[in-house]
């Protein structure tokens, strides 16, 4: 086995598009999925905007036998996994069951399901709580349900590092491939748009309380006021390159070329955030220098201080306006672990089509972010071979991923 990890399939469930190409077209057209919360009555809460996946009717996508045991976000994950496998042209029934793994990231578990069952517990008693509460609330549930549905019995797991999760899971998928498991579903899907989940989001203290969907989430902008939560994410099919070639897979989107992660020191420690070092380590892991990176997909906190920290780290590595930087998540909100998985999918689509999707709604970069070459207003066409995806999660989790397009014809000779 070559042990080169290539991405052969993408499956997206995003607030501005259900399905990879639907999402990608909407993103290039600048169509936003952020709007007033509809999943529950949020009128009494200080923040009332969210990125909701619309047009998703679960029974159209999910077997009836799975409906009583799945939270909304798990259903989205199952659909994203289906999309990804279809895109990869992979039929799990024809692949070795112990050669397939599932490694996803998740941040909240099944909040909506959990809230419903807790309500039953308090109002009706323990005998009314669903037996499925035992796993439906749990972070690992998406990995478990995907694994069971497709008979994927290789080493599997879940990573919980908030926004960094989608990248950390992908990095872990590459480890499995290097250790000999040739086929891994990875990425992440998140979402907790229920009153209980909303309270958890609010507790972070960074949500934008604005009403205008175009002015609520403005990362790197002088008018930044916080962020908007969203639901969804992406599932990536990652394979050993030789395995993919031998099973007749279509041309991969690219390879997982570099990965690094770290955790920020305590804010009062006097030591700098780890982002710059994590970027440098991811580049080193890929065997690339700053000039080799064609575009950066930013974490884009939407909060002035972390925005400035990210801008300083990127500028320190790449120089003033040294690389195009973008944050298409301005169209969907921050999806926790699903966010960096979706950014990775978006980066691979950008490589495929030679176009950088813009950072929506941002018009007036903050002085502390002026060193960034932000892609604003419209998509920017460019010859793209490599992309760097950044994520900084609540709690200091930091991760960076380098994806690189494949050279030459496909299939390559052995």
């Amino acid at each position: 086995m070559s042990a080169r990890a290539v991405v052969t399939g993408l499956g997206v469930a995003a607030p501005n598009g259900l399905g990879t190409e639907e999402y990608w077209k909407a993103t290039l057209r600048g169509e936003s999925g952020i709007g007033p919360l509809t999943r529950f009555d949020a009128s009494t809460y200080p923040a009332r905007l969210a990125g909701e996946v619309t047009g998703f009717h679960a029974p159209d996508h999910i077997p009836g036998r799975l409906l009583p045991q799945t939270d909304h976000m798990t259903r989205l994950a199952l659909v994203a996994a289906d999309f990804s496998l279809a895109d990869a042209g992979a039929d799990p029934e024809k692949l070795p069951e112990y050669g397939m793994s599932v490694v996803t990231a998740n941040s909240y578990g099944g909040f909506e399901f959990g809230q419903r069952e807790l309500e039953k517990l308090w109002s009706q008693g323990g005998s009314h709580v669903s037996a499925y509460q035992s796993f439906a609330w749990f972070y690992a549930v998406n990995t478990g349900q995907i694994s069971i549905r497709h008979g994927m019995r290789g080493p599997s797991g879940v990573l919980v590092t908030e926004q960094a999760g989608g990248i950390d899971a992908t990095g872990h998928a590459r480890r499995h491939i290097r250790k000999g498991t040739p086929f891994v579903l990875t990425g992440g899907v998140d979402g907790a748009l229920s009153p209980w989940g909303w309270t958890a989001y609010l507790s972070v203290g960074e949500l934008s309380t604005r009403e205008d969907p175009r002015r609520a989430y403005l990362p790197f902008d002088a008018d930044a006021s916080g962020w908007v939560p969203g639901e969804g994410g992406a599932v990536l099919t990652v394979e050993d390159e030789e395995f993919a070639r031998e099973r007749g897979a279509g041309r991969p989107y690219g390879e997982i070329a570099g990965y690094a992660s770290g955790v920020d020191p305590r804010p009062d420690s006097g030591r700098p955030p780890v982002l710059r070092r994590v970027i440098e380590q991811a580049l080193a892991d890929a065997g690339l220098g700053p000039r080799d990176i064609d575009v950066v997909f930013a974490d884009a906190a939407g909060v002035p201080e972390p925005d400035r920290i990210e801008a300083e780290a990127v500028t320190a590595v790449f120089g003033e306006r040294g690389v195009p930087v973008t944050a298409p998540k301005t169209l969907v909100g921050r999806l926790a672990a699903g966010g960096s998985a979706l950014d990775t999918a978006t980066a691979l689509l950008a490589l495929r089509d030679g176009v950088i999707p813009p950072t929506a709604h941002v018009t007036d970069p903050a002085p502390g972010c002026a060193g960034l070459d932000l892609v604003l207003g419209a998509p920017r066409e460019a010859r793209l071979r490599t992309a760097l995806v950044l994520a900084r999660g609540t709690g200091g989790f930091t991760a960076a991923l380098v994806v690189r397009a494949l050279d030459g014809p496909w299939p390559r000779s052995a």
Partner: protein, 87 residues
């Protein structure tokens, strides 16, 4: 409830564990199939037992439920308890 019928059990299974058009359904022909073969795992049976207790006003012991591993055995178990309660 004086009698726990096949139709009652069918509705209860659907409420507890969902149903698909192409999944094996509960019919006169499958009364002696194991719940496992019909696609219900142990957790689904836990949920089924929980609903049956509430809807029929009976108490089901865990061991009795795991021994009642076919629809016919579960119907017999539940109906026996309903009758005992009524007596």
């Amino acid at each position: 409830m004086s009698q726990f019928t096949v139709e009652h059990l069918k509705a209860l299974l659907e409420q507890a564990a969902g149903q698909d058009a192409d999944a094996p359904a509960l019919t006169a022909d499958t009364l002696d199939s194991s719940f496992g073969d019909l696609g219900y795992d142990s957790l689904a049976m836990l949920e089924v037992a929980s609903l049956a207790q509430r809807q029929c006003g009976i108490t089901l012991e865990d061991e009795a439920v795991s021994d009642a591993d076919t629809p016919r055995k579960l119907l017999t178990l539940v109906n026996g308890l309903i009758t005992a309660d009524a007596a």
